[in-house]
Every structure is written in structure tokens, then in C-alpha cells.
């Protein structure tokens, strides 16, 4: 899987490493901004209130 990604990337090794770094940062950003907040809604440990969830 990652081997295929490595082979598909253009340029010398250092350039591929840079591209992968940028990709990794992008994935973390997307997760922190959108994916994780959406998942957190379904996590049971975030409830602070009594009664039904409002």
C-alpha cells in the first residue's frame, strides 16, 4: 500500500519524503478540524449533563 504510494510519487527520494510529509500534515489537519470533532459527538465520555442529552 505505502510501497505503491512511494513508487507513484515523482522525483528523487528527498522530494518524495517532502511530499509525504506535506500529505501527513494535511491528514492530521483534516482529522483535527473536521473528522475528530464529528466522531467526538458519538463518544460517550463527553456527557456532562443530567437528563436526556440536549
Amino acid at each position: 500500500m505505502y510501497g505503491l504510494l512511494w513508487r507513484l510519487l515523482p522525483g528523487p527520494a528527498w522530494l518524495r519524503v517532502m511530499i509525504l510529509l506535506v500529505l501527513a500534515v494535511a491528514v492530521v489537519l483534516v482529522c483535527f478540524e473536521w473528522v475528530f470533532p464529528a466522531i467526538a459527538d458519538y463518544m460517550p465520555f463527553n456527557e456532562q449533563t443530567v437528563g436526556e442529552a440536549r
Binding site: 500500500m1 482529522c31 475528530f36 465520555f45 463527553n46 456532562q48 449533563t49 443530567v50 437528563g51 440536549r54
Partner: protein, 251 residues
């Protein structure tokens, strides 16, 4: 080794599948680790920033540093607070037990996205307003999202909980801490403990109730702190003596 020879010598399909599954599992592990990092650390960072802005945004007059003891506070009932719009920040809460510089904004509603996850403390709609007869009930995160009620279990009977609106101080005193099930909404009844559906007696007391999760990082139970109003005073008169350590620290 030439490129041509490398592509020729392809491993068996089962071996390649195992490799892909392994990489997927490693990826999943990293993502779970990232989620934990986000939940335990980044939500605090974000909520901390929002909360800092919310406190600055209050733009309320600084109270005079003169300490006013309980005996010098007004005897008449406190002025009523107008019910705020959902999500509106209408008060702040100061708890000397949580630190002399502890101040967190109180906003209307206990929704997660609009209030609690911004690091603020939320006011249960339809419960009493600060100083009013009944039960001024609040909820806040104990872990993550700025964790405003992180130290709720440290509160002792007799500890002051001070609520400030733009013009008024309300000084409550802790009377009781308890652990209940999430379904026990009687803790935020106008008289704490009054069963849901029971006839409402004539209200004579002014309560405050804090609710947060218990145990930490779990939602199995709720940690509850009750208190009653002991005094109130206009902000223009000075600072309540209950906040004395804070006032000393500022000098």
C-alpha cells in the same frame, strides 16, 4: 538489482495481502493515537483560546478592590436577571478553591457544540437565574474542552462559589457534594432532590448546582455540587470578601 528483475519477482498474493492488512492496522493505530491526542490536548488548547476571548469580550467594569464583608451586603432579595438568549454569555463564575485567578464564563444552554465545548460553563435552560428563588443549575466539562470543572471534587462544604453578572455579585456556599446517575434530574429541580412530577412547594431558598461527569474520562455517573446563596451585592460596591485571596494576590 535492476528494476525489471524486482517487478518480476512478485511475492505470493497471500503475502501481499497480509502486508496491506498490516499497513492498514498500523494506520488505524496511528489515527486512534491522533484522536486521543486531539481529545485530551487539542480541545483544551482550542477551548482555552475561545474562553480567553469570551472573558475579554465581557467588557464589564472592573469591580472596586474594596473588600465587602457579608454583614455589609444588602438584606433585600437580589435583583432578577433577565433570561438570556440561547448561547448568550450572561455571567461568569469565580471559585477560589479552583485557584485565585479562576474565572470562567457562563452561557445559556448546555448544548455541547455551542456552549460546553467552547470551555464555558452552561446554564440549564428553565432552571433559575443567578440569585433567584429555585436552583441555578450549571454544567461543565471535567476533562477535555478546557475542563472548567476539572477540580469539582475538591470543593468542600462551606467553599464559596461566586457568580458575577454585569452589575451584581452572587455569593453561594457549597452545602453538599454527591455522585448520582445521569438520569437523576432531581438534582437540578427547583428544590434539589424534589422528584420529577412532584408538586412544587413554595420556593424559599436560592440554590446553585454544578454538574459534571464522574468518574473522570467516563460518563457512567455525574458529580454534583449543591450550594445556597449566602449574600449578594452590586459590583459598584466593591468585591465580596469571599474573593479575598484573589484580591490579595492581585496586589
Amino acid at each position: 538489482m535492476s528494476r525489471a528483475r524486482r517487478t518480476k519477482a512478485k511475492p505470493h498474493i497471500a503475502l501481499r495481502l497480509t502486508g496491506v492488512v498490516g499497513e492498514l492496522m498500523i494506520t488505524l493505530g496511528i489515527l486512534v493515537g491522533l484522536f486521543v491526542t486531539w481529545q485530551l490536548w487539542w480541545t483544551d488548547v482550542q477551548a482555552g483560546r475561545v474562553q480567553e476571548q469570551a472573558l475579554e469580550g465581557l467588557d464589564w467594569a472592573e469591580p472596586a478592590p474594596t473588600l465587602v464583608s457579608v454583614e455589609d451586603t444588602p438584606d433585600e432579595p437580589p435583583p432578577a436577571v433577565v433570561a438570556p438568549a440561547p448561547g448568550e454569555t450572561f455571567a461568569s463564575i469565580l471559585v477560589p478553591r479552583f485557584g485565585s485567578d479562576y474565572e470562567v464564563t457562563v452561557a445559556e444552554g448546555v448544548g455541547k457544540k455551542d456552549v460546553l465545548d467552547t470551555g464555558a460553563i452552561g446554564h440549564y435552560p428553565e432552571t433559575a437565574m443567578p440569585g433567584a428563588l429555585g436552583n441555578f443549575s450549571l454544567a461543565g466539562h471535567r476533562t477535555t474542552y478546557g475542563k472548567p470543572l476539572n477540580q469539582i471534587a475538591d470543593l468542600q462544604v462551606g467553599d464559596p462559589i461566586v457568580v458575577r453578572t454585569q452589575d451584581t455579585w452572587y455569593v453561594y456556599e457549597v452545602t453538599e457534594s454527591l455522585i448520582v446517575m445521569p438520569s437523576q434530574i432531581e438534582v437540578i429541580a427547583p428544590v434539589p432532590g424534589l422528584e420529577d412530577g412532584a408538586a412544587l412547594p413554595e420556593l424559599t431558598e436560592r440554590f446553585i448546582t454544578l454538574t459534571s461527569c464522574h468518574p473522570m474520562f467516563s460518563a457512567r455517573e455525574r458529580y454534583i455540587v449543591h450550594g445556597t446563596l449566602t449574600s449578594w451585592m452590586p459590583v459598584s460596591q466593591g468585591t465580596p470578601s469571599a474573593l479575598a485571596p484573589a484580591a490579595e494576590g492581585g496586589q
